[in-house]
């Protein structure tokens, strides 16, 4: 029983632990004065020395014509390099607290059977890239960091770290949007930060690998995947999941009982071979 839970939920449990402990460390930085992690996800200081900054926020600042200090430039660079290596959207599934909200909306949606009724998804998953472009244009035109002033992600983590206020309303809106209006609506369609990290992680190294020989085509992976379009190859072809919108959440790996999906390191050489063959 316990081993079953472990094998089917190990990444989910690990993700919840990292997401919650990062938030707790930030909150302890504010309320208790711990210096392990101070600030919030927009910009922070690790161990009182290493700056970490949200590269998308810095990009908006740049577009708004703000002076960029070396401090946040270094911070943004560290974050960009990290996610470019481990997978851009690792932020989304392992760090971002909004992920907990949208995952629970999705869980409830599944349990209530909404997905069987509303099978068609009426919105494009590329909206996020358009929102990303729009945010940079608005930042330039209004000379203000446009998305940072409405970002429900920032509202959520600031709410957790610095006190809730009306932040619960923003969280509720996202929850209801994902539950009733659009499956994976916020994280999988709208969020420009997710779009940004998709672009950052285009060439990232940690990738899920699909082994078609083991696959029994149960399609459990496609049911749990919040970006199911990246799993197009399942039961068709043995290859790595190279879609940049994959969040490396590991849900597909843990629900697969046939050892057909596993984490792997991106095979750079094979990549080139494939391209040549084409």
């Amino acid at each position: 029983m316990i081993s079953k839970i472990w094998s089917n939920y190990r990444f989910l449990i690990a993700r919840r632990i990292t997401q919650i402990s990062i938030m707790l460390l930030y909150a302890a930085g504010n309320y208790l004065g711990w210096t392990f992690l101070q600030g919030n996800l927009s910009s922070s200081l690790l161990l009182n020395t290493v700056p970490l900054s949200d590269p998308y926020a810095v990009l908006q600042m740049f577009s708004a014509g703000a002076m960029i200090s070396t401090n946040i430039l270094i911070g943004a660079l560290i974050i960009t390099v990290f996610y470019a290596l481990v997978g851009g959207r690792v932020f989304c599934s392992w760090v971002c607290p909004v992920n907990i909200i949208t995952d629970s909306a999705n869980y409830l949606r599944n349990k209530l059977g909404f997905n069987n009724v509303a099978k068609k998804q009426p919105a494009s998953r590329n909206i996020r890239y358009w929102v990303l472009i729009l945010s940079l244009i608005l930042s330039y035109v209004l000379s203000i960091t446009a998305f940072e002033f409405i970002s429900p992600i920032s509202i959520t983590h600031r709410g957790i770290i610095f006190g809730l206020g009306m932040a619960w309303a923003a969280m509720l809106v996202i929850f209801l949007f994902d539950l009733f209006i659009l499956k994976n609506g916020w994280c999988g369609h709208m969020c420009p930060l997710g779009g940004f990290y998709s672009l950052v992680g285009k060439k990232s190294l940690i990738r899920v690998d699909h082994n078609e020989q083991n696959c029994t085509a149960c399609m459990e992976c496609k049911v749990v995947c919040p970006e199911s379009q990246v799993l197009f190859m399942v039961s068709k072809e043995s290859m790595q999941v190279l879609g940049s919108e994959c969040t490396n959440c590991g849900r597909c790996v843990e629900v697969c009982d046939d050892d057909a999906l596993n984490f792997s390191i991106r095979n750079l050489i094979k990549d080139k071979k494939n391209e040549k063959n084409k």
Binding site: N30, G39, L138, I144, I150, S154
Partner: protein, 261 residues
């Protein structure tokens, strides 16, 4: 072929419409929150428009403040979301000598050079706002003895001083009227915090809201320093119908006036 072209055009127009709608709502909201000018920022803050695009909303200043003076604007407060501010009537700025909130700012939205003199941190240089006295509701202006704001002021006798005036009503008392010198006032808000009236009769507001500006038409002729503003002044020549001639000629020119007689 025809159909796919149509659906492509329809799709693009639809996308453009949604983008325009979203962009307008989005920018309208940002304009709305930006319109609130009654916000007091931490020491060393850049001018409001620069501050708003430089602040990354990380809250490091909030965490550094030992008095919990600063907080980040929350949804529903009608302030630009996530930006730091303080409300002096609740908790004023206690003007720490080491100014912990400023050096921690990663972006320079809180500019350390704005609170530095001779390479040393100098909180007295900060300009968070300016105090202003409501002389109608200040009891010192009624003649009742109160100098709460004056004594609370960390720059006593400089930023707030007392003006003595004979109280003609009683004939034997004095008014001790608090007057703010906005050149020196840092806007810390200790006066507003100390004010004894139900609603504070001395308040700190952003400097752009409180301060007037004389402009170039008036110079203190008795003040050498102020007169130096005239150094680069240029005469402005305006030509109108009348000034085409010299003034005297213009006055003596009868023109056709006499022809009527």
């Amino acid at each position: 072929m025809e159909k796919s072209r149509r659906s492509f055009i329809l799709g693009s127009v639809r996308a453009a419409g949604i983008a325009a709608l979203g962009g307008l709502v989005w920018s309208a909201y940002i304009d709305e929150v930006r319109a609130n000018t009654l916000i007091l920022r931490p020491p060393g803050a850049l001018d409001e428009p620069d501050f708003l695009n430089a602040c990354i909303k990380c809250g490091m200043c909030v965490e550094a403040c030992p008095f919990d003076t600063l907080s980040l604007a929350k949804p529903g407060s009608n302030k630009p979301l996530g930006t730091p501010f303080f409300t002096p009537r609740d908790i004023p700025c206690y003007m720490c000598d080491d100014i912990p909130c400023v050096p921690v700012c990663p972006t320079g939205a809180l500019d350390i050079t704005k609170v530095t003199t001779d390479n040393k941190l100098d909180i007295d240089k900060s300009q968070m706002g300016a105090a202003i006295v409501d002389t109608k509701n200040c009891i010192a202006f009624w003649g009742i003895q109160c100098d709460a704001c004056y004594r609370a002021c960390p720059l006593m006798d400089e930023a707030i001083y007392l003006e003595y005036e004979k109280n003609k009503r009683t004939g034997k008392h004095a008014f001790l009227k608090p007057v703010v010198n906005t050149d020196i006032c840092t806007g810390c808000g200790l006066c507003e915090h100390a004010c004894v009236t139900k609603e504070a009769a001395i308040r700190v507001l952003p400097r752009e809201v409180v301060l007037g500006e004389v402009g170039n038409h008036y110079i203190k002729g008795w003040d050498k320093k102020d007169e130096s503003r005239l150094q680069n002044a240029e005469q402005i020549h305006t030509t109108t119908k009348i000034s085409e001639q010299k003034p005297v000629d213009s006055l003596n020119d009868m023109g056709d006036l006499l022809n009527d007689f």
